[in-house]
């Protein structure tokens, strides 16, 4: 360790492992966005909250900045370290620390994978209901820092809803115990909620206590072929009344073609412009009959043209693969991603406007739409044509994102539904949040992180 700053760090946080190999710097210095060249100073792998505090105090003294890092599945560049930062990764703080059957809570280290939390909950006959395709690699710390959503928000809400308590090290090195698993706690500002969604800019989550839910009842999954955009929300309106929905997702024919090319089984003989994946409680015959009613009503109205239904959990999983496989099937095209939201009721008007914009601005690009439409959340992926270089591609996309941000402003939506602002959406924050709001956010950051060492350059 030639850098004297690192030698000092090794002395002050003796239990922390430090990595400086180029391959480690690259591995830990980037997330799923591949736009920035990783260039961190070093990687620190602490094993205790005390170490994390020591790291922050060290960083303040040496004026080194910190990038907290979870599973690096983030899609907004929040965990990118490209300017000599110290990456603090929580790989070694990944244990289940406790389970309380009366509270129905699980206490975990921030580095634990989402899927490991789901499995631990299942071991106790309960469920951790936040869920999405990156479950095997993303971490609870990252989920909390981005207030991750996913495919079951419609039923269970976002990560925020499941956080019962947090241990948090601020940008000054203070260790806070926020809310401590209390259901009721009317004792002033709830700082826990300030931390959730703060994208590592205020400090680091070093422990989380999560609420668990009763396990879901047996469910079934339907895949519906929808002929037109304006029918999507009509189908949703019927489905949410007739069924207890667990998920309501959509994707386009373009998305399906990519997933099929990636090896999935085709659900229908003919392509349809839009598809809906709906999962619903099907514990009894009444709810299965309701699903059929719903389908019949939509078929008669012309809002769906065809549909299949899972007859086993294995089939449910293969229908889900059509939706969940999209992100991976697009990865090779280095897509430019938009993750936007509007009020659910505003989706049709917004989609119509956006359709016009995309047709006008991207006449030649392959644009793939999918997302959590039941939450008003759309993912718009623009694929890079092979012949175009990355820089001019991104430059062209950013022009369109400006228009998109303006359109979102008009419809009262958000430029980031669930992926966070990070680096990727930073230029467009003002379309979604007012000057006054942003000024307040800066003020809050200045209190918790007066030296500006926590994930600088992210969010604003």
């Amino acid at each position: 360790m030639t850098d004297p700053r690192l030698a000092d760090l090794a002395r002050r946080a003796p239990e922390t492992r430090l990595l400086t190999e180029p391959s480690d710097l690259e591995h830990y210095g980037r997330d799923w966005t591949r736009r920035w060249t990783p260039a961190p100073l070093a990687i620190a792998l602490p094993s205790t909250a005390g170490d994390v505090q020591a790291i922050v105090r060290w960083a303040r003294e040496h004026q080194v900045t910190i990038v907290p890092s979870g599973g690096r599945t983030g899609l907004s560049g929040g965990a990118v370290a490209a300017h000599g930062e110290l990456v603090v990764a929580f790989d070694r703080m990944n244990q289940v620390l406790g389970f309380d059957p009366v509270d129905a809570t699980l206490t975990v280290g921030p580095g634990i994978a989402l899927e490991a939390v789901q499995n631990a909950a299942r071991e106790h006959g309960l469920a951790y209901p936040v869920d999405f395709a990156a479950r095997g690699s993303c971490s609870i710390g990252g989920n909390i820092a981005t207030n991750a959503g996913g495919i079951r928000v419609i039923r269970y809400g976002l990560t925020r809803q499941w956080v019962a308590g947090l241990k948090f090290v601020t940008g000054t090195g203070e260790l806070l115990e926020l809310n401590r698993g209390l259901v009721k706690n009317a004792s002033g500002y709830d700082l826990r909620h300030l931390v959730i969604g703060s994208e590592g800019t205020l400090g680091m989550v070093v422990e989380a206590t999560l609420w668990l839910a009763p396990p879901p009842p047996p469910t079934q999954v339907m895949l519906l072929a929808v002929p037109a955009m304006d029918a999507l929300m009509r189908v949703f309106a019927v489905a949410r009344v007739k069924l207890q929905l667990e998920a309501f997702e959509f994707f386009t024919d373009r998305a399906l073609e990519h997933v099929l090319a990636h090896g999935a089984q085709a659900p229908f003989d003919v392509l349809s412009p839009y598809y809906v994946v709906a999962e619903f409680d099907a514990g009894d015959e009444a709810s299965q009959a309701a699903a059929l009613d719903m389908f019949e009503a939509c078929l008669e109205a012309g809002w769906v043209t065809d549909g299949v239904i899972s007859s086993s959990d294995a089939q449910a999983a293969s229908l889900w693969r059509l939706r969940e496989g999209i992100t991976e099937s697009l990865a090779r095209y280095k897509p430019y991603k938009n993750d936007i939201s509007v009020r659910i009721g505003a989706v049709p008007a917004f989609m119509a406007d956006m359709h016009g914009l995309l047709a006008r601005e991207y006449p030649t690009f392959d644009v793939v739409w999918f997302g959590h439409i039941g939450d008003g959340n759309l993912h718009i992926n623009v694929l890079k044509p092979d012949e175009l270089d990355q820089e001019s591609f991104v430059a062209q996309c950013e022009v369109v994102t400006k228009h998109l941000a303006a359109m979102l402003h008009k419809h009262g939506g958000s430029i980031s539904a669930e992926h966070g602002i990070g680096l990727v959406k930073k230029p467009y924050l003002e379309g979604t949040r007012s000057h006054e709001e942003i000024a307040l956010m800066r003020g809050i950051k200045a209190v918790l992180d007066p030296d500006g060492i926590m994930n600088p350059g992210k969010v604003f």
């Binding site: 339907m222 389908f295 078929l299 549909g307 299949v308 007859s311 086993s312 294995a314």
Partner: protein, 248 residues
């Protein structure tokens, strides 16, 4: 040709099965029930044979309580022409199932019976073989590939050493293995159409088969929990630990 397909309902493959506290069985309330996966494969194969023009009619058979109807409707929606529901409130053991199927075979005179190689609830792997013996017709078990021509079925079987190919004269019994095919999704419009497909209901008692308990189940228990691994510091400690267990 007519094909008869065994179509059993079981606890879904993905459910973590729990033994009842009193050891009298496994918990099925509030638990996802699905077609036995091997039976879905059997039905899929029968439907493909019908689509190829080898068969004209596919009949599924379920043995179980009144609420089995919804399960049979799924099979009809998948494409079976009709269903036979043999009603009973008792648990059905393989020999009873084989005897029931034999009665139906005598009634329906199918050219082929396809059943799963086993049902994933009791994993008995007996019904198809017993039916073939009682019926005194050839059997081809663990089918990975089936072709029908000239009154014969050519069946590639999954055996330990690879694949074994058998020619059997029809009528015969085929039992399906996992890789035979991938069952289709049920189309929602077909569920609507399936509402008007016939389900013959026959009381098991009326078939005159011996349903006496051939096997007595004394109790159910969960497999013993695997004890946690022990960490050893070095090779010497490992050797000592193995010696202590009498393994060295």
């Amino acid at each position: 040709m007519k094909i008869l397909v065994g179509y059993k309902r079981v606890v879904d493959y993905n459910v973590r099965v729990q033994v009842k506290a009193d050891g009298t069985g496994v918990v099925t309330e509030g638990v996802k029930l699905s077609a036995n996966p091997f039976d879905d494969i059997a039905l899929e194969e029968a439907l493909r044979l019908r689509e190829k023009g080898v068969a004209e009619e596919v009949v599924i058979v379920g043995i179980g309580p009144a609420d089995l109807t919804a399960h049979l409707r799924n099979g009809l929606a998948m494409g079976a022409n009709r269903a036979i529901h043999v009603t009973t409130t008792e648990a059905v053991q393989p020999l009873t199932a084989a005897r029931v199927l034999l009665k139906l075979v005598e009634k329906e005179s199918p050219g082929l019976v396809i059943v799963g190689k086993q049902a994933i609830d009791d994993d008995a792997n007996q019904t198809g073989q017993m039916l073939a013996a009682l019926w005194d017709r050839p059997q081809a078990t663990f089918a990975g590939k089936v072709e029908i021509a000239d009154g014969k079925a050519t069946v590639a079987r999954e055996v330990d050493a690879g694949m074994e190919t058998l020619d059997v004269d029809l009528p015969a019994v085929i039992t399906t293995d996992l890789r035979l095919n991938e069952p289709r999704f049920i189309k929602l419009p077909d569920i609507m159409k399936a509402k008007s497909k016939p389900i013959d209901v026959i009381e098991l008692g009326s078939l005159g088969v011996d349903t006496g308990d051939h096997l007595k189940i004394t109790h159910y228990a969960a497999p013993p929990k695997r004890s946690k691994g022990v960490m050893v510091k070095d090779a010497a400690e490992l050797v000592a630990a193995l010696k202590h267990k009498g393994l060295l």
